[in-house]
């Protein structure tokens, strides 16, 4: 701007301002189009920043297609699948390579039932490992401890046990105590009765300091029933009962084939439905119907006597109690 020959623009111009002469000198040249490039660079930086913010907010990308044992994620640690040598979560070791866990608890007016499942350790073959004998169980609840009434092994799911306890006034913070049987001792006691004997007992047996009373054995032609209990202070037991009608024979076979009444599991057959053919577990008492094998006793198949074998087994000793929490009550 000039006014009266004075150039105010020149006066206000900073020494650092571009030389207008030089600018003018470039006007004749082809000017670089830097403005779009700068704008593009800024836009690019904004786009990249947006991606960065998105990545931070959303976190690492999950690789949902990964096969087991592999991972294509570059930000998550790879998962290596290895065979377990331990027990599944929640199982407590009750014998070498065998664990047990309580699965449910029912409290009713007639008693308390607890379901227990069993597993082998990882890498072990279930076909080669016995389900451990638990001599007996106790329920620790509300400051009192109650001994089991019975324990039963499931047939459809081998290893599942139902343990029954008497009614308790209150059940708070229950805990199972498993007393493992360490070895077993056995004996077979035989008693012979007249052929017309129908009710016998009580009979008393002693094995390794434990006294067992057979309260009553009722014998019919095709049926029998036996009830027994362990005297207070004794070890738990199992008893297999075999009633033999001496002198009877099945004429359709050449071999001597006396009629028997036996504990159901000795037949290896499901009787009717639902009577477990599995070996009974240790207990302090039992009431059992016996099952017939062979021809019915009667005319043409008379017995000269009745012989009864009681095969008694008790634990050789009992290990220290193993505490199994009861967490999943239903």
């Amino acid at each position: 701007m000039t006014d009266d020959g004075f150039d105010f623009g020149e006066l206000l111009r900073s020494p650092y301002d571009p030389d207008p002469d030089r600018k003018r000198s470039r006007e004749g040249e082809a000017e670089l189009p830097w403005k779009p490039a700068v704008i593009a660079a800024v836009l690019g930086a904004l786009v990249a920043s947006a991606f960065v913010i998105y990545a931070i907010v959303t976190g690492p990308t999950e690789d949902v297609e990964a096969a087991p044992g592999t991972s294509t994620s570059t930000t998550e640690p790879a998962i290596e699948f290895v065979p377990s040598t331990g027990l599944p979560a929640g199982y407590v070791e009750v014998a070498p390579n065998v664990g047990m866990r309580s699965e449910w608890l029912d409290v009713s007016a007639t008693g308390i039932r607890v379901g227990v499942s069993s597993v082998v350790s990882g890498g072990q073959d279930p076909d080669l490992i016995d389900n451990p004998d638990i001599a007996y169980w106790e329920l620790d609840a509300s400051g009192t401890t109650e001994k089991m009434s019975s324990q039963t092994l499931e047939i459809a799911a081998i290893g599942n046990l139902t343990v029954e306890f008497p009614v308790l006034a209150a059940v708070r913070d229950p805990m199972l105590l498993a007393y493992p049987a360490e070895g077993t001792r056995g004996t077979v006691e035989t008693r012979v009765f007249d052929a017309d004997a129908s009710v016998v007992g009580p009979l008393e047996f002693e094995i390794n300091g434990t006294t067992i009373i057979v309260d009553q054995l009722t014998i019919g032609d095709v049926y029998a029933h036996v009830a027994w209990h362990v005297v207070e202070g004794g070890l738990p037991a199992t008893i297999d009962t075999i009633v033999t009608f001496v002198g009877t024979d099945n004429p359709s076979t050449d071999e001597p084939d006396e009629t028997l009444l036996v504990s159901p599991h000795l037949t290896g057959l499901l009787q009717g439905f639902g009577i477990p053919p599995l070996e009974p577990r240790f207990g302090f008492s039992r009431s059992e119907q016996l099952v017939r094998i062979g021809e019915p006793v009667g005319t043409g198949n008379e017995a000269s006597a009745i012989s009864v074998e009681f095969a008694i087994t008790i634990p050789a000793s009992i290990g220290d109690p193993i505490r199994i929490p009861i967490g999943a009550a239903s």
Binding site: W34, A37, V38, A40, A41, V42, G44, L46, A48, F51, V52, G59, V64, P68, T74, T75, P77, A78, I79, E80, V82, P88, V98, E103, W104, G115, S118, V119, V120, P126, D127, I129, T152, L153, E154, I155, A156, A157, I158, N160, L161, T162, Q216, T218, V222, H225, A227, G268, L269, L270, Q271, G272, F273, G274, P277, S287, Q289, V291, A328, S330
Partner: protein, 286 residues
């Protein structure tokens, strides 16, 4: 805009992306290293240059297994067709079973039949839920305890890629139960022995020196309970199901006069619910 301007614009854009991107990558690494460090043991926190570690995951039968009670449920395959999705699976029991005797029963025509342990239903994963990426849910499951395939009725055309997850929300496991009980013709002809299982005295008839007692087993849910009734105590002969196949048991009493309170024993299996929800591993199956 001439050709040179376009080139410069592109170059400028790339320079901007690279500059901001390189700074951003460093920021991302820094942020994620800080997050990971909170879940690592103390000895791994000191360095941010540790390469991604390997996490070990243990399995008992198969990497894709679900351990439910003492059984491994292994999904084998998944298929979608029309309005149905199905998951094939296998059940492997981990329960110790050495010296378990062969289980036999008398079948038709008095022929002995053997039951293989592996054929028994160790668990019954009864109710499954399929979740889609769109937030839909479809219920499904196997037809019965012996089945090894879970089916879902879904909307037509649902593809496998739309399946977000599958959960098993109800699992039943069999347990044995013996329940002594009494039935009285006048006072208590019906008794609930366990929830969902009722015993009903149907008929009592004298036949000479014996008495026939007929008991019906009323099950609320035939899938979750199997029961039989026998006499409890002396005086009973064997008990049998009715030939017609109904859940009625005929018992023979030979102990003299039948007591007013008839002593009986319910013995059988109840399927108990196991706590927990179990997510099926879909990644490793086809």
């Amino acid at each position: 805009m001439n050709g040179r301007a376009i080139v410069l614009t592109v170059v400028g854009f790339l320079v901007g992306v690279l500059a901001a991107g390189s700074i951003g990558v460093r920021v991302i690494r820094e942020v994620r290293t800080t997050e990971d460090a909170t879940s690592l043991p103390p000895e791994n926190i000191s360095s941010t240059t540790v390469p991604p570690s390997t996490v070990k995951s243990e399995y008992f039968v198969d990497p894709n297994e679900l351990i439910i009670s003492s059984t491994a449920l292994i999904p084998l395959s998944i298929q979608a067709s029309g309005d149905e999705v199905s998951v094939d699976y296998e059940l492997v029991s981990l329960a110790p079973r050495h010296n378990v005797p062969v289980i036999q029963f008398l079948g038709n025509f008095n022929r002995t039949q053997t039951v293989e342990i592996d054929d028994l239903p160790h668990i019954y994963p009864r109710r499954w839920v399929l979740h889609t990426t769109d937030g839909e849910t479809f219920e499904g499951g196997p037809a019965n305890p012996s089945a090894r395939i879970a089916r879902f009725d879904v909307r037509d055309g649902l593809s496998l890629s739309e399946i977000q997850s599958i959960e098993i929300v109800e699992v039943l496991v069999p347990y044995p139960i013996d329940v002594p009980f009494t039935l009285d013709q006048q006072l208590s002809p019906r008794v609930v022995v366990v929830p969902g299982v009722e015993m009903e005295l149907i008929h009592v008839s004298d036949q000479g020196s014996t008495t026939i007692v007929q008991v019906a087993i009323n099950l609320e849910d035939h899938e979750t309970a199997d029961f039989f009734v026998a006499g409890d105590g002396p005086g009973w002969r064997s008990a049998f199901f009715e030939a017609e196949g109904r859940r009625r048991v005929n018992l023979t009493w030979v102990g003299g006069e039948l007591p007013d309170e008839i002593p009986l024993l319910a013995t059988g299996t109840v399927w108990k619910a196991i706590a927990g929800e179990f997510t099926v591993a879909l990644e490793g199956i086809e």
